[in-house]
Symmetry: D2
Subunit: 103 residues, 4 copies
């Protein structure tokens, strides 16, 4: 069983440019070995609850080392009996559309 | 250290009315003993990461017993050196406004 | 027809304490006359798309006057043939639970 | 001035598989001519408030034609003096990481 999860971590009060902090977050995601796809607004991962949540906790904790405050948002789309949805979910939409989407 | 967390769990494909499932979720929240406030769009809790996330996992798991698919959204506002923000955050806003807000 | 909508506006890079900005947002919500309920993580409103979105745009614009960057999140729960859900949605859950919830 | 916006529309009570509805949403996004990138959890667009929100309203309205209920979530990251962030935001993170990310 695996879940699809998008998350983002935003440090508050550390200035307007937060790309160094987002780089730290993505370094943790890549090092975790969990399946992921980055997008301009967050990172999508696929895995079971404990695997995915332990990565997000590490990312949130890293943001809180250097910031007084952080906002972390997590959206979970959990569906029984489906695997590799990080690839297949959009492929299924592209098939219905009869075209490739920008990613 | 405590975090403020809002979450909601929506079973997908179980029909349009989901108040029985939301009742199950709130039964778990109340039984957990974690500080909470319910609103028409979700439930706000205050506590440390492990306490709050274990409640949300239970709520998500209950939804997945009876549904093929569930969407769970979690928003975390974590701030160092502040406690009882579930009460004080809005009180601070009301002081600045010089009026009581509808809740 | 009316929708239930929760939103929050967070200025980024304006320091850790943002309650003055949240007060500005709630001043706009109250002045709009739209049905609302404030909670520690956001504000729930009920109304049609144009009414609700024009309030949220004003709130977002006010945040952007004084900040270089702002994050605004909006969650819409739209359901046909239901009114006054800002009150009735939780009442329906309380009936199923057989208890009053903290709000 | 342009904003970065991620959104998703989920019809509730229309069964577990919603890829036909997501295909309808993406057909509207593509036809709008607004800059976009699709990901497994939502669609990111870049444009001004009115352009982007009118696309999202059309997508929400299409979902409500065929469903009794729909959940639409919108996250806005608005930043002054920056353009083409739909490409540049992740490129800036990749530069800091010294590696290409999966997208």
């Amino acid at each position: 069983m695996s879940m699809l999860v998008e998350f983002s971590v935003v440090p508050v009060g550390k200035g307007v440019s937060i790309s160094p902090q987002i780089a730290e977050v993505l370094r943790i995601v890549v090092a975790s070995g969990v399946s992921y796809k980055a997008n301009p607004m967050g990172t999508v991962m696929e895995g079971d609850w404990d695997a995915v949540m332990s990565v997000i906790k590490k990312c949130h904790d890293v943001a809180m080392i250097n910031a007084e405050r952080a906002l972390t948002t997590i959206t979970i789309d959990d569906r029984k009996g489906k695997e590799e949805r990080i690839e297949k979910k959009l492929e299924s939409v592209e098939q219905k559309l009869g075209m490739k989407l920008k990613k």
